[in-house]
């Protein structure tokens, strides 16, 4: 993975010093609340319902075991011994003290980590596929490109005070989009053109929140050397022309929609003519330099399906289930990608205790070259596990609560922290996740239902990405009472779509019952092997709606 050189290191240390001074001046009342706000947000520090929240960047989801141990250690000494992995490859600490944050950042800098631009109206942490570099069908490894974008966006002098937050995600495979790129401000799809040159299909104006939209293609192919000048052009147009009069209409998606993609593209192209070919054009030497950090680990020459694996698959139904659901094909023979799920019943989705973080770091050292990834679905991934070690890993993962064999199923839900933590939330989301996990605990039934994305948000800001869940649950406030609106038909991959609202919202205690009714309709209507989303797309919303609101007879 990427290793800081003296320059990168110096920069994060200078950032810590800067923020230490800003925090000191705030606590001395030399900086007002209003002035400190965007400064602290650009360092990931929120003031939440019960305490501050610190969002730590995990650039494009890569973590070393040493970094994860440091996170565990920080969570013990400065927080309540756990952290929350978010959908955008960040770790959130829910209970730090403001006065401790400079020390936390200084400790993070020791392991090449930071909280730079994890919040605020600036270019956020760039995200990508958690399987980057280890799957067979990717065009190239997207991580060097993500690192290029990370450096370009870090303290960009022109774009630190944009109309609104700005999120970029990168994908490099045709078969899947695990980074939900189409619902980002900019989605980048790495492509190869007919001449074999690498470039990007650029999608702009996707996003969730109050006005959810799937992005539109602004360019089919931008050569990689031109990536940064093209990004500069897009964001310069947005910075000058995006709305600033209404925070709910300030995202780039609103500008793109208002102008139409043709006109928006014309303006970007006009800007780009001044930038293209200039100094920010990326030379091949820089791509080579960045790619050198993501070279393959010392893989052994192995064969697939060693006998220890095949015999266990026959002998143990539990292992076979876990293997089927929680592991994924690796590009190298004899290896497998393993997801450590953070979706154990009784634990908030995406939460990990310090002990679990320590354990995951140990597993990474023992089974995966000391590296992990964080996924958009709020799980951890060991990308390079030898198949002959899978049985041993399974035993260890079970012990640590990482082996819930439900990856991609109804109970592998995405869930924001909701009203238990977040000041913005209208309703709690964690108890809804718990209710669904309790109700749908029968593994055979879950397996029969197959892949279903269920996403829960506690408010319109959509941190739980409810709009793009095959089933989305949104907490709403009705005269001080918490209710939940359900939508169906959302998707976040290459077939991205925004879900449709079923109808009037439901009381908290009704949710799992309603989900059960939706599942009954699906089971009845599906053709063989048809996914929930495909059945929905074929039969439409009506049968689901009728079942959900049918009076008990």
């Amino acid at each position: 993975m990427y290793q800081y050189d003296v320059i990168d290191q110096q920069l994060v240390e200078e950032r810590v010093a800067q923020f230490r001074d800003q925090t000191r001046r705030y606590l001395n009342q030399e900086l007002s609340e209003q002035e400190f706000l965007p400064l602290r947000l650009q360092n990931g520090l929120y003031v939440q319902r019960y305490a501050p929240m610190l969002r730590i960047a995990i650039p494009y989801g890569m973590l070393s075991s040493a970094q994860l141990r440091k996170l565990a250690d920080i969570s013990c000494r400065y927080d309540r011994s756990y952290g929350h992995f978010s959908t955008r490859q960040n770790l959130q600490l829910n209970w730090p003290k403001i006065e401790d944050v400079p020390d936390i950042l200084a400790e993070l800098a020791e392991v090449q980590m930071h909280a730079v631009q994890t919040s605020g109206n600036c270019i956020r942490n760039t995200t990508t596929d958690q399987y980057a570099g280890v799957i067979s069908d990717e065009i190239v490894d997207p991580r060097p490109y993500c690192e290029l974008i990370r450096q370009w966006s870090t303290f960009h002098p022109e774009f630190a005070f944009l109309p609104r937050k700005f999120k970029i995600a990168v994908n490099a495979t045709e078969s899947a989009d695990r980074a939900a790129t189409q619902v980002h401000d900019i989605g980048l799809h790495i492509k190869k053109n007919a001449a074999g040159e690498i470039g990007f299909k650029v999608i702009v104006g996707g996003g969730l929140g109050r006005t959810p939209m799937v992005g539109v293609t602004i360019s089919e192919f931008i050569p990689r050397a031109d990536l940064l000048t093209y990004l500069d052009a897009i964001i310069r147009v947005y910075n000058q022309q995006g709305r600033r009069d209404n925070k709910y209409k300030a995202r780039i998606k609103i500008l793109v929609k208002a102008l139409g993609i043709e006109e928006f593209r014309n303006r970007v192209e006009a800007e780009w003519t001044h930038l293209r070919g200039k100094e920010s054009t990326v030379p091949m030497s820089e791509f080579d330099r960045l790619a050198s950090f993501f070279s393959e680990p010392a893989y052994e020459t192995l064969t697939d399906q060693p006998s220890s694996l095949t015999s266990k698959l026959t002998d143990s139904a539990g292992f076979a289930r876990w293997y089927e659901r929680n592991t994924f094909t690796h590009k190298k023979a004899g290896y497998r990608i393993v997801t450590l799920t953070l979706k154990k019943a009784g634990q908030a989705p995406g939460d990990a205790t310090a002990e679990q973080m320590q354990k995951a770091a140990d597993l990474a050292d023992k089974f995966s070259f000391g590296e992990l990834r964080v996924s958009h679905e709020q799980n951890l991934v060991l990308a390079d596990v030898r198949q002959e070690q899978l049985v041993e890993l399974w035993d260890a993962a079970k012990e640590a609560g990482f082996a819930t064999p439900t990856l991609g199923l109804l109970t592998d839900m995405i869930c924001c922290p909701g009203g238990d933590f977040c000041a913005l939330a209208n309703a709690k989301s964690i108890p809804i996740a718990a209710q669904i996990q309790d109700t749908f605990s029968d593994l055979d039934y879950l397996y029969d239902l197959g892949n279903i994305d269920l996403n829960i948000s506690g408010c319109m800001n959509a941190c739980g990405h409810h709009h793009v869940g095959n089933i989305g649950i949104l907490g709403v406030d009705k005269k001080g009472e918490e209710f939940y609106q359900i939508s169906i038909g959302g998707a976040s991959g290459h077939d991205a779509s925004i879900g449709k609202i079923l109808g009037p919202s439901f009381a908290q205690e009704e949710i799992s019952n309603v989900i059960q009714k939706l599942m009954n309709v699906y089971v009845e209507k599906r053709s063989e092997e048809e996914r929930f989303i495909d059945t929905y797309r074929r039969v439409g919303i009506t049968p689901f709606k009728e079942a959900a609101y049918a009076k008990a007879n």
């Binding site: 002035e35 002098p157 940064l228 030379p283």
Partner: protein, 158 residues
């Protein structure tokens, strides 16, 4: 007149920022760009113009901007970043060599960014301690991107 920071020093302000269109124009005046645009044949000798957020810089593209000693950029709120693009475009696209002054609501903690996009003078609100603000002049000794002073990104300088 209150002091300001220019080229890294605290100096006396010799220009007058005319915020009100009715104010009398003198050779020391910084006049609203829109006012200057509509009265440029009759307005007489002025020090320069100032841009309001939302003005953009396109209307200056066919004008010799170096006729102005100063171009001000107004920040209606310090979170309104349009002025960052304006300064950069004045320097890089229009080749403006004179003084670019930040006016209005911006804060000392933004100095690092403002300098990099081409501002070289800063008329802070009266409540700002300029000596303390000067200490925030250069928060980082290195940068990843190119900027107005050096257009080369770090990958051309490593």
């Amino acid at each position: 007149m209150p002091k300001l920071i220019k080229n890294g020093e605290i100096i006396e302000n010799t220009y007058q920022w005319l915020q009100d269109a009715e104010q009398e124009v003198s050779p020391n005046s910084i006049v609203a760009a829109q006012k200057w645009l509509s009265e440029k044949d009759t307005i007489g000798n002025i020090a320069g113009i100032w841009l309001e957020a939302g003005d953009g810089i396109e209307f200056l593209e066919d004008i010799d901007v170096n006729q102005f000693d100063i171009i001000g950029v107004h920040f209606p709120a310090f979170t309104d970043g349009r002025g960052f693009s304006y300064a950069r475009l004045l320097r890089e696209r229009l080749g403006y060599k004179g003084e670019i002054r930040a006016l209005g609501h911006f804060i000392p903690d933004q100095l690092g960014y403002l300098l990099r996009v081409g501002f070289n003078s800063f008329q802070f609100s009266d409540t700002v301690d300029l000596e303390k603000a000067l200490l925030l002049h250069k928060p980082f000794s290195i940068t990843y991107q190119g900027d107005v002073a050096d257009p080369r990104p770090l990958f051309l300088r490593r």
